[in-house]
């Protein structure tokens, strides 16, 4: 322990654990491993390598030539892992394309210093809409991994690793209200909405996709409104248009409204905690809300 402190500085390890992205990277990687070994996902390793490589390279190039700042692999890694979990395809080039689109969208589709679309959501939706050989499999998770996702998601909230837990809970809450309201109106047994809530894709989406601090509204009121909106649009697509990926489509449709919501409900913008092994952050520097609008992702 002492040696670790020696490497990272006295508060270094704490700082390492503080960055929510580290928790997210570990959780998403664990889910992929669970899917691979326990639920035989159809996921060749070279797809993972292709997608991770594509996001990292895109980010490295964009950081260097567009944003002109040091390369940080964490955000693209999260995008790649989310894509790996949710995008199914038989073609490695589509995995790579999804990764490039995901990260590329952050540098190109921007409004007032903030990117508009959730990167993984953007890559996922665009590739699965355009190419028949890529799709989203909402039914790929059984009941057991759903429990795992729920535990890890809630675990993130309880331990404070999820900085945007309000979005996750507001989304799941609104969606649950809609599902139960529908069941009550139809006179269906409550087993049906309960079953519908046990969707691995829904939970992964709620805890690990829509909760991205960089693309959600800055103010808590705005975030809760945004989550309710996404839930309503997703519910409508799912049950009105009979598209099982409704909630995932809803995010890309609602994302352009975030600047408007930010305009209505102003608050400080989120920035990832700054951490450097050579520099011990003081407690005040560990605060996650800063005012300057760096292009850091």
């Amino acid at each position: 322990m002492k040696s670790v402190s020696g490497i990272f500085g006295r508060n270094g390890l704490r700082a390492l654990l503080r960055d929510p992205r580290h928790y997210q990277i570990s959780v998403l990687s664990s889910l992929i491993l669970i899917g691979l070994f326990a639920y035989s996902f159809r996921l060749p390793w070279w797809h993972v390598v292709g997608c991770v490589g594509a996001t990292l390279v895109t980010q490295a190039l964009a950081d260097r030539f567009i944003a002109k700042r040091p390369f940080d692999p964490r955000s693209p890694l999260i995008s790649a892992l989310s894509l790996t979990l949710l995008l199914r395809t038989g073609s490695v080039s589509l995995s790579i394309l999804a990764g490039v689109l995901a990260v590329g969208s952050k540098y190109i589709l921007r409004w007032r210093g903030k990117h508009i679309f959730n990167p993984a959501n953007f890559g996922l939706v665009i590739v699965s809409l355009i190419f028949g050989a890529a799709w989203i499999s909402p039914g790929q998770w059984g009941a057991a991994p759903v429990l795992a996702v729920l535990l890890l998601g809630l675990g993130g909230i309880v331990t404070g690793k999820a900085k945007r837990w309000d979005v996750s809970l507001a989304l799941l809450g609104s969606y649950a209200v809609l599902l139960f309201a529908r069941a009550l109106w139809l006179g269906d047994p409550l087993a049906i909405p309960l079953h519908q809530l046990q969707s691995g894709a829904l939970l992964i989406f709620a805890f690990f996709m829509i909760s991205d601090p960089k693309t959600t509204p800055d103010a808590r009121v705005g975030r809760v409104l945004f989550a309710a909106l996404v839930a309503t649009v997703g519910f409508s697509i799912q049950f009105g248009l009979h598209n099982s990926a409704g909630i995932i489509l809803a995010l890309i449709l609602c994302a352009p409204l975030v600047p408007l919501i930010d305009h209505l409900f102003r608050d400080t913008r989120y920035a990832w905690p700054q951490f450097s092994p050579s520099h011990t952050p003081s407690p005040s520097q560990g605060v996650t809300h800063v005012h300057d609008l760096t292009p850091a992702e």
Binding site: F131, Q140, D188, H242
Partner: protein, 461 residues
């Protein structure tokens, strides 16, 4: 006359509800007794889907008195006479065989003539799944509208829409159907989802005229974004599990359920050759064991293949005419398809854009509260339930390699016993006994001169 309402089980099983005068008829229909033809109480449905266009062909294996046959199936749209067709039961039977799990066998060559495996292969298929050879004013007052009324083949068909379930239930009862009390809630849910009701009875005169001994499958064509099969009515009064086979034919790739997890049955396993004589039992036990490992229920993919070929083939791929009769609506009508002797293994040169997925669903009301919803994926990977038996060479073997070969075969047989026990849940003891009765293990001949490593060194011995 009272009608017996058969919940959609096999026959029309999937969303249908049969009306019964006595509840015990249901139980008899649905309860699966242990070890007795579990799958006999299964429904078979072929679904052809492209875009929003759908054709559903439902096998009818109802075996009771025809005048008592009655079904109620929720459908997404109003159906007119030209959207209904009575189909040839042989087609679903053919599709069932084509997609069935298969057993292949290989014969070892004499190890003394150099070991050659896989010289001959034959294909066995799982036993076919018992496919069968094969008042308007009053209605209006009840809020029930008879949208369409027509006869197709041996069936009298009504398409009903309803404003509320009480009226629908009353109407059905007044017209000789007795609806289980518990079905009312489900009917109400379907009514609110703007579903219509496809109600069919047998027209005895038309049936006599047609000369068919059995009730034929009903095919229905419609256009709706809903890609689903209603199973809820069928589980209302059912006790225990039900099995349904869904044969999905699409232009895309594999079809999977979106609200339940689709998994694959175990495949490519080597099992003892004696299983050839009880492959049907093997299939049932293997499926049962796989389902039990997932809580006793589940959606299992048993076959997914491009319809142009198969390898090995449990039956020939279906011809364009057969597919079209079944309901595949996107084939080019101009294409000629002259039946030719089919090779057993090689792909056929012609190409048609049909991908088949066979899903085997075991469900009950508790584990499958929601209707089955599907999606077509872009996954065109082929998958089949395939089991391999390898016959050892049993002629005279006189050479040094024979001893090694026999050892290998004995080890292989041990592995096969374990594999079979693991797949089926059968006891190793019973399997071993059958293996020994069938082929036995090679006994190693200890009298043969033992060659020690030093025997060649100095030429001793």
């Amino acid at each position: 006359m009272s009608m017996t309402l058969r919940l959609l089980s096999s026959a029309i099983a999937f969303g249908a509800m049969a009306v019964a005068t006595n509840a015990s008829a249901f139980c008899g229909f649905y309860v699966a007794k242990a070890d007795t033809d579990l799958f006999n109480q299964s429904s078979k449905v072929a679904m052809m889907r492209d875009g929003d266009r759908t054709v559903i062909t439902m096998a009818n294996d109802y075996e009771g008195e025809p005048e008592e046959f009655a079904i109620v199936i929720p459908v997404p749209t109003i159906i007119t006479k030209d959207q209904v067709h009575v189909s040839d039961p042989a087609l679903l039977a053919h599709l069932d065989v084509y997609t069935a799990p298969r057993l292949v066998e290989y014969f070892d060559d004499n190890p003394c003539n150099r070991m050659q495996y896989e010289t001959e292969m034959r294909v066995f298929r799982a036993l076919p799944q018992a496919v069968s050879e094969t008042v308007e004013d009053a209605a209006e007052a009840l809020g029930v509208t008879i949208e369409e009324e027509f006869t197709v083949g041996e069936y009298d068909i009504l398409i009903l829409s309803a404003k509320e379930s009480d009226g629908l239930q009353t109407w059905l009862e007044q017209n000789g159907y007795k609806v289980p009390e518990k079905a009312k809630q489900t009917l109400s849910s379907y009514i609110k989802q703007d579903m219509k009701f496809f109600v069919a009875k047998v027209n005895l005169e038309a049936r006599a005229d047609s000369g068919n001994e059995y009730l034929r499958p009903i095919a229905v064509a419609f256009e709706s974004p809903k890609f689903m099969l209603p199973i809820r009515l069928g589980t209302v009064n059912a006790q225990g599990n039900q099995d349904m086979f869904v044969y999905m034919l699409t232009r895309g790739g594999q079809v999977e359920t979106t609200n339940y997890r689709t998994q694959k049955i175990p495949t490519d396993q080597e099992i003892p050759p004696y299983v050839k004589d009880e492959f049907g039992d093997f299939y049932k036990s293997m499926f049962h064991t796989a389902a039990e490992r997932d809580g006793g229920h589940g959606v299992f993919m048993e076959y997914a293949w491009d319809m142009n070929w198969c390898d090995p083939c449990a039956a020939d791929p279906m011809s364009d005419e057969q597919l079209q009769e079944l309901g595949v609506f996107w084939l080019d009508n101009g294409a000629t398809d002259i039946p030719q002797p089919q090779p057993r293994i090689r792909p056929r040169p012609q190409s048609k854009d049909v991908f088949v997925t066979r899903l085997h669903v075991r469900y009950d009301a508790e584990s499958f509260p929601e209707d089955l919803k599907f999606k077509t994926t872009g996954n065109r990977d082929n998958f089949q339930g395939r089991y391999v038996m390898r016959h050892a060479y049993d002629g005279e073997m006189v050479c040094e390699a024979a001893a090694d070969y026999k050892k290998q075969v004995n080890a292989r047989r041990e592995t096969e016993i374990n594999t079979l026990a693991n797949l089926t849940g059968w006891t190793r003891k019973n399997i071993r006994k059958k293996v020994e009765d069938d082929t036995g293990f090679f006994t190693m001949d200890d009298s043969a001169p033992k060659h020690r490593w030093w025997s060649k060194l100095w030429g001793s011995e």
